[in-house]
Each structure stands twice: as structure tokens, then as C-alpha cells.
Symmetry: C2
Subunit: 342 residues, 2 copies
DNA sequence: TATTAACACGAAACCGTTTTCGTTGTTAGT
DNA sequence: ACTAACAACGAAAACGGTTTCGTGTTAATA
């Protein structure tokens, strides 16, 4: 790669000192108009741009933020990422993206890699494995170093830091209530294994809604699928052996798959059975029938996370203001489509 | 943020010079075993990690690669990104992700921002606006500086650099041929506006296949939709006014939307009409009926792009080897599902 | 005329590394 | 006893900037 022009080059060429060049370019009043003009002209001519790395070293801040997400080929995370990138970009920050691939080890490695100067702060959602092991020492180390951290969606109570989450409990409660109001009695829940923070909270909302409306909690109506399930046999028998008239799913993929098997088993949607799924992605809009879903507003969540992080980063520069941590809650909204009756 | 421990700190504490510490940690034979042990023990105790920024400045390489994609909430780009991240990570590189949002200006700004030392090379796909304006001076500047660049999917002939693309023409040709072999006569094409490089190539494949099989090219059978179209009226009339028995779509969203309107107009898939779409994403697998599609192997493409870029970066370090540029072609594969007849 | 303030600029430290090139003190060789 | 070789370490330059603190010159003031 060709060497780019530096202050030193300009100084040598114009026979002034490096300091003079630096000051001239920053319009310091120490420098005479003449020299300023000369320097600026020369700099423009050779399209001088300060070296970001040198700046980072000097200022001890990189204007980079690290984002670690479990999966990138995933609608929700993708929209969050978009929000982060949008906000960060507007504030002059770059985003370094790492994918943990739901793996604990990758998460740890990536964090350590980035923590040594590459970034000014982290935004992340815990990997599945991390949640399963419930081991968050790597996060503790980061926060102990005083590195700003914002957790979103897949959070943990073990770490004290800024967080942004969905109102999972209430959203789930509301969705089930709506199904009940529509006259549904045997409402199923299709969820992941329970170590997922959010799934658990959604399940709680489901339980509470049933209870508040005097519906019995029937364990047979709860189907727990592995996170990345491919085979449909479990859900086949699920629909065959239970007289289900409504289903809440913790994500849209589960929902659409379930709709397909329900249809295959002769059920009509929404006449015989209603469906609601979390994540209002492209699938919800284009499934047959279209799926009533709970929009998680990922972009909003991402923007919020980025905002919180950058505020913390830039506050750190100031004197020792009292540290405070917030948890922001994004409210899901129910988007009604064909899979439920209005 | 707390200051992290530096070589200088260790040197002061152990009463040796900075150089000694540095050498000891790198196991230099210049240093006695005693001092090495002492230094290493101390470093481990205080978990010393070299400052990446200082290293980058010194070595004039950042181990970062910049990725600029038009859209992140988009299955194909997302899979490519995943491939890039996977490969880069394995090689010890970080990925700085920027989203151009299909905007020329954002693309330019982001590139300039990153080009000043933050990264060792670029991987990108052109934004829609850039393709429309056909202005790639910002890319020229980058390559003129000797910064390695790999273009994927949305490429341009104006820039000489490494590229990785799909065999769009052949894939399209093959898909249409398959439809013809199945006895289809009135085959439509649903595509974007023509300034998209790939759409154009796919259209060419479509033309050629028709011609080779003595089917007349009927302009009425070609529907050009805006890239992000929301309203279906155009495609409504399209299906009403033409007796179409097969459709090739340049992406799966177009395809699934088209299937829905076709079904709404009483057409049976695949009996009355067949569908094939590019992009083998989640939609293709979960649409009703499931969609026969051309897998673009985004992850493979991403890995390839990352491989090419990193090879170039690391070759740059060596002496002036003769510069050569490659264009790698990824072959699409047809995944047959319910929307076509076997 | 001597003092002083303003002006315009340069030297040097600093950020945290790596690396080259001394500089010691010891040991071996003649 | 003198030199050569070697082992073990330190000084300093370099990467490319910013910033503090002089310093020399000129013009205004007492």
C-alpha cells in the first residue's frame, strides 16, 4: 500500500515545523494567515487526511464500537444491528461487528480481542451457550476495566450495566389476552428451551394471562423446540394429539412452520386455529396466511443501545461523574394480520 | 476507562528498560532466562495485553477489514457478511461493517472515513444509487492508493480489482431452460430496474434461453418493479392481462409476493403456473407453496471475498510481486421445491 | 531607551509499541 | 596480559499525530 502523506511530509516540503502544520490545519490563531493558507493549500492539493490510528493512540479513544451478536443471518439481530450502525454512523463512530455464532468460546475470544484498545465500548447480546452455562466472567472483566457495555435482548442479571430489552412479559401477556378475548380456550405455546432469558419471560407472560382468565395451564400445550430445529415430527404429533385453537410462538420461524403443519393436518387458519408470533419480520408479512405478530422494533432497540453506549463513552471523558446504569424497555406492538380474527 | 498496564509500567516496576520487557515477552534470546521469567510472571499477574492501536501504528497494518454493504436487513448480504466474518475471524482479522443504505453519499463518506488508516482493505457491493449514477471515482481513489479492494455481486467493470460474482447469466439461463423443459411456453420475468448489474445479467440469460428454444421474447411478459416495492397493483394487472404459465424472479421477495397475487387471481401453483426465484433464503423454504430457488451461496461468496482480500493484504507486505487481479465465479444451484413440477 | 506584550513559530514530550544499534561486563583464546 | 567473542541489557528512533511550553522578533508603552 502506498504511503499516505503525513504532517512531516508537508512540513519538510514547506520548510516549517510539524507543529506549525498541525496548528495551521486546525486553524489555530497562533499561525499567521499566510502560513495557514500555504499549508492548507498544500494539504488540499495532496489531499492530506490525518491518520486515524495515530489519532486514536494519542487521544486514547478509537471512535469504534464493538458489537457482538449471536447470529447475523437472523432478522431481529439484523434490525438491531442496523439501528446501531445508523446511530453510530451519525455520531461519527464505526462499528466493528463480531458474530459469536451462539458459541461461548467465540464470544470470549472476540471480546478479548477487541478489548485491547480497538474499541471504546461494547454492545452485545449473549450467545445461547453463554446463557446456558450462565458464565459471564468475561463480561465482568470488561466492566471492571471500566469499559462501557450495553446489553440488549439477551441480557443477564449478573452484570450491572446499561441494558435495553423488550417488555417480553407484558407483550406475551397481551397477545394471549387477545387470543382469549377472541374466544380461544386451548392456547398453546411454542418456545425454545428455557435457558433463554427472553423465552422464559414470554412463557411467564403466557402463564399469567391464562391464570388471570381462569384457564388451566396444561403442560401438554407447551412445545419446547431446540433453537435451530429442522425436523417437524415433534410438531406434527403436537397438533394431532391436542385440540388446540390458538398458538403463541416465541419467534416467527416457529410460527410459520407451525402454521404449515397445522394446515397440513387440515386445520383452517384463523377459523379453527389462530397464530401469533414474536418478531415482525419479512416472513410474517409474506406467510400464507400472513401472520399476526409482535413487532420487536429492533432498529429502535439498536439506536437506543448505541445512544446509551455513546453517552457513556463520552461522559467517561469528563470528570468522574457518578456512574449510573439504566435499563430501557422497548414496547412490542401487535401487528394484526390474517392469522388471527379481528 | 481505567488505564491498562503498559510495557512502561512493567519496566518501571521491575526496574528494567522498556526494550527488555518487550523482548522478554517475545522470548527473545537476548534476554536471560531469569529476567524473562520475572517479566512474564509479572505480565501474567497483571494480565498485560499489548495495545492494539500502538501496534497498528507501528506495523502500519490494522488487521481490520472494512465491509460496505448496501443493506443489512437482507438475506443475501447477510449471508455474505457471515462468510466474510467467519473467514476473517479465523485469520485474526476484525470486520468493520458499514451500511451504505443504497446511498451513494453514505458509501463515499464511509469509505473515506475508513480509508485513513482504520483498515487494511475493503470488501464491498455497490449501492443502488452508485450503480444508477455509475460514478465510481471513490473506488478509483482507493485503488490508486494501493488499498486492496474486493468487489462482490454488485460490481462494476470500471474498476480493476479482485471480484467475486455469481454466474448470473448461466443460472438464469438454466432456470428458464428448466421451465421450458417442463413444457412452459409463456414465461415471465419479474426484475428490478435495469441499472442493477446482476438483474441485467439475469435478464440476458432469460432472453438467451427463450431464443435458443424458439420462444418469442414478449415485452409484456417482463415486469420491472422498483427495488423496494410495496404496492401490488402493478403485479395484479400483470397476472390478469397475460396468460403466464411460469415466472422467473430476480429475488425471492418478488417471487413470494408474485405467488401470492397469482394465487389470489385463482392460479394454482405449480399446476397452472410455476415459479423460480433467485436467493435461497428462509422465505423460499417457508412460503406456500415452497419456492424453487437458485441458491446464491452467499456464505461461500463471502469466504471467497475475504480470502482474496487477505491474500492481497498479506502479499502487499512482501516485495513488489506482480499485481494480478482475479474474478472468481460462484455457481448458483437450483433447489427444487413445490413451486415447480419435477 | 528600556520594558513589555503580542505575534508567529519551533522543540520536545507524549500516546505504546518494536527494533536497531550500541554499551557494558564476563569469559575464552592466544 | 591483551584481544575477541559473547551474553544481557539499555538508549533512542520510529510510527503519525497533538499540545505545552518556550523563544525570537517586532511594535507599543512608560
Amino acid at each position: 500500500m502506498k504511503r499516505k502523506i503525513t504532517l512531516k511530509d508537508i512540513a519538510r516540503e514547506l520548510d516549517v515545523s510539524i507543529s506549525t502544520v498541525s496548528k495551521a490545519l486546525k486553524n489555530s490563531r497562533e499561525i499567521s494567515k499566510d502560513t495557514k493558507d500555504k499549508v492548507k493549500a498544500f494539504a488540499k492539493l495532496y489531499s492530506y487526511k490525518p491518520n486515524i490510528i495515530a489519532l486514536s493512540l494519542k487521544q486514547r479513544r478509537t471512535k469504534n464500537i464493538g458489537v457482538i451478536i449471536p447470529d447475523i443471518v437472523h432478522h431481529f439481530f439484523t434490525t438491531v444491528f442496523r439501528g446501531i450502525e445508523l446511530y453510530a454512523d451519525a455520531k461519527g463512530y464505526n462499528v466493528i461487528a463480531c458474530v459469536s455464532d451462539e458459541s461461548f468460546d467465540k464470544e470470549v475470544i472476540n471480546m478479548e480481542l477487541l478489548a485491547n484498545g480497538s474499541i471504546d465500548g461494547f454492545i452485545m447480546a449473549l450467545s445461547a451457550e453463554t446463557q446456558l452455562k450462565n458464565d459471564v466472567n468475561h463480561l465482568k472483566e470488561i466492566t471492571n476495566q471500566g469499559m462501557p457495555l450495553v446489553l440488549f435482548d439477551r441480557i443477564t442479571d449478573e452484570i450491572i450495566c446499561d441494558k435495553v430489552i423488550l417488555n417480553d412479559f407484558e407483550a406475551s401477556y397481551g397477545a394471549v389476552k387477545k387470543l382469549i378475548d377472541n374466544g380461544r380456550k386451548r392456547i398453546a405455546l411454542i418456545t425454545t428451551e428455557s435457558y433463554f432469558n427472553v423465552s422464559e419471560k414470554r412463557a411467564q407472560g403466557y402463564y399469567k394471562a391464562l391464570k388471570d382468565h381462569d384457564l388451566e395451564l396444561d403442560e401438554d400445550l407447551i412445545l419446547r423446540l431446540p433453537y435451530q430445529f429442522e425436523n417437524e415430527t415433534k410438531s406434527e404429533t403436537f397438533f394431532k394429539s391436542n385440540k388446540i385453537d390458538a398458538v403463541l410462538c416465541v419467534n416467527e420461524i416457529f410460527a410459520v412452520r407451525a402454521m404449515k403443519t397445522a394446515q397440513k393436518n387440515g386445520l383452517k387458519i384463523p377459523e379453527d386455529i389462530s397464530f401469533i408470533g414474536f418478531t415482525d419480520g419479512i416472513l410474517s408479512k409474506l406467510a400464507t396466511p400472513t401472520l399476526t405478530s409482535l413487532a420487536q422494533h429492533g432498529e429502535k432497540m439498536g439506536k437506543m443501545a448505541a445512544k446509551m453506549l455513546i453517552e457513556k463513552i463520552e461522559r467517561d471523558d469528563d470528570a468522574a461523574v457518578e456512574e449510573t446504569f439504566r435499563t430501557e424497555i422497548i414496547e412490542a406492538t401487535l401487528i394484526e394480520r390474517e392469522s388471527t380474527i379481528n
